[in-house]
């Protein structure tokens, strides 16, 4: 289960942490358990969980890369969603599974609904005509290497967003909007993504920027939502104007 953890030869302190545990086969409901951890400076939550695993606690959690690339280890740490692999451990930390999903065991949640939504939203370029990319604006390349390719789909922003609920379709939530923005900038995608964003509830975003404040890799889905909304409005205005006047507006309003 756990990755190889360097031996903690010189612990600097002993920390106490609380982990919410639930085994569907033996527990009727979740309960908190308290553990003691030998602490070394800059120790992360995932290292504490790995340490516990090595102590035969049979604690179930998902983790793969341990370097904030795979987005597997999202959980609630002291009430706030975050990646266990990059959240520094504090004494008295309370660790529990994400709250938006049903718990399968301990810190593992059922995220299968997310994939269904990916399919529903057609998160791949809709190819029409050209299949080869010729010129790409510099700004798009910048957005890809600095924003879109960096979203690790860890679901942390979905948890923090007060307007989204992973199980309802009123507003899909920040991560989905960022993925829509990703496709909207893809040179081969022919689907009207700003329109899709509006249909999937982009107008419900209240610009609270909670998503940006929790994003482990420092992205701002809220800003992307704002851009998508502006682009959708521009499109709508152009269509409206075209119908009214019979020609294109002179300038982008």
């Amino acid at each position: 289960m756990s990755s190889y953890l360097q031996p903690i030869t010189k612990p600097e302190a002993t920390y106490t942490i609380h982990v919410k545990r639930f085994n569907p086969e033996s527990n009727a409901q979740a309960h908190w358990e308290t553990y003691r951890i030998p602490f070394v400076r800059t120790m992360t939550v995932i290292q504490a969980l790995e340490y516990l695993w090595d102590q035969n606690t049979y604690l179930a959690f998902r983790a793969n890369c341990r370097e904030m690339t795979c987005g597997s280890c999202a959980m609630l740490i002291n009430g706030a969603p975050g990646l266990a692999c990059m959240t520094l451990l504090q004494d008295g930390s309370r660790i529990e599974p994400l709250a938006n999903y049903s718990v399968l065991k301990d810190l593992i949640v059922d995220t299968s609904g997310i994939e269904r939504k990916y399919k529903e939203l057609e998160f791949w370029p809709k190819l029409e005509g050209a299949t080869k990319i010729s010129g790409v604006p510099r700004s798009v390349l910048h957005d890809y290497s600095h924003i879109y390719s960096r979203c690790i789909e860890c679901y942390v922003c979905l948890e923090a967003c007060p307007q989204s609920d992973a199980e309802t379709t009123q507003f899909d939530g920040p991560m989905f909007m960022l993925q829509i923005a990703r496709l909207s900038k893809h040179p081969l995608d022919a689907k009207n993504r700003p329109r899709q964003a509006i249909e999937r509830g982009a107008l419900s975003c209240v610009n609270c920027y909670e998503c940006a404040s929790v994003c482990p890799v420092g992205l701002s889905p809220a800003s992307e939502i704002g851009k998508l909304r502006r682009r959708a409005f521009t499109q709508d205005f152009r269509n409206f104007w075209r119908k009214l006047v019979g020609k294109e507006p002179a300038q982008t309003p």
Binding site: S3, T42, W53, Y58, N64, T69, L104, K105, K132, R150
Partner: protein, 555 residues
Amino acid sequence: MAAIAAARQGARVLVVDKGQLGKSGCSPNAHGGIAAWYKRTQDSYEIHMHDTLLSGGFLNDQELVRILCQSASRLVPQLEQFGCLFNRDPDGSYSVRNFGGHQYPRSVFCGDETGHEMMIGLRREILRLGIRHLDEVMATRLVVENGAAAGAVCWDVANGSFQYVKAPAIVLATGDAAGIWPSASERQRGDGIALALEAGAELMDMEFIQYHPTHAWWPFGVRGSVSESFRAEGGHLLNSLGERFMSQYDPAQKELATRDKVSICIYREILAGRGAPHGGIYASVAHLPARLIEERLPVILQKYLNYGIDIRKGPIEIRPQPHYLNGGIKINGNAQTSVPGLYAAGAAAGGVHGANRLGSNSLTDILVFGEIAGRVAADEALRRTKPVPEHREFADQEQRRVAGLMSAEKKSAVSLPALRRKHIEMMDRHMGVLRNESGIKTMLKEIEDTRESCLSQIAVRDTSTKYNFELRDALEMFFRLTIEEISTRGALMRQESRGCHFREDFPGRDDENWLSNIVFYKSDGELRHELRKVSFPSVQMKQFPEYAQSNSPWH
């Protein structure tokens, strides 16, 4: 990639993933690039081949290397149809970056998240094609019938059930086995390689484990490799005296020498007492413009900022750590193993990289051989007219084996985490960057002892059926011992130093006796090995007189 290629041929495909699709394995962690684009006019696939062979100590299968280098550039634009987008220069052509051992910059990239970007595209394409996939399901046994692959027994980690998946063609794209060593991302535990051996396939070059020179070492909380792009963009390696020590070991290439060489040089500096305070060595990009770091290395920058360290201002402490097992399942140019119907691709397969892999050749390998394996496997499956029989009894057998592991009488047996930790540490010590006969023999003895005394006593104390990761560790322990044994026996046999395999007692390269691959296979339940001379169908060693005349293990 194999699943996509197979589905395109019209085959019915099932992907069995031990983790979650797109998040498991180590491809998302590959930061650097895909060696695929011959942008400079003087560059070509032949020169890429030469670089790969020189780095691999000429142990590579030249046919596989030729396919790798010839096919690479065809596949990158396909990834963009799946939704990826790679960095471009102002003229619209792909930007390329240089990696250690490549003569010319030829690696296509997206920031320093190339592997992740690639996995985004592949996952989306799998969803688009509607390919079925089973997440968190582990294959525990391959079934061979009448000498050909017939199916696999799979254990569902989420609910503990065993099922038999019948399949006339199976592609093992299970990654390598670097997780047998203390690798940071150690999900590569060699399951597929061990399964293939049991099924009758041959394994080759298993003694060559590549240590990545720049793994994050300190602070304690930082994990994972610091991408080779760190060196490629101009990063320096410094000892405690502040010297760029690589200029003494390799004045021409300096930090951009191949990984095997840089790792050993770092080890030597550390052993000479010129290491950093926590047992690593310093790496720095602080002399580069801050803008370039922000533009080209955003992930590393942010990762360290999380721990209060700004790479724009000062050095970081790194240390070579296990990264990639160069060997694996022996395949031919069609990605076929020696068992009909069984295919292998990517890091699970051997022969492409020889004794040492070049940075960014791995993502290329995944794409090229993934595509070939999927396509050929699908063709074979579709050609098959006889129905594949159902073998539920094999799943029942596996279920009984697991019940034995979890039996109540064995409650006080071996502690699995402790056993695993001991083996990982010993592999690092005796089978790491520097090896010698006595160390290797100590490791072999430990493996034999574990087989004799511990294996029968392995007991899973966690009795739950859902997400029983202790059981997963136990099942992996069997795979681990297989890989450890083969790797260690190979290392003992190879009495020379070449690429990633450095013997302190045989420090020179010995082309007279050791231009051979050590191939392991099972026959009548016995592990056997063979030395097979490397063939030189296209590139000859004498084309590189400087290399051919020296006895240095590295290029």
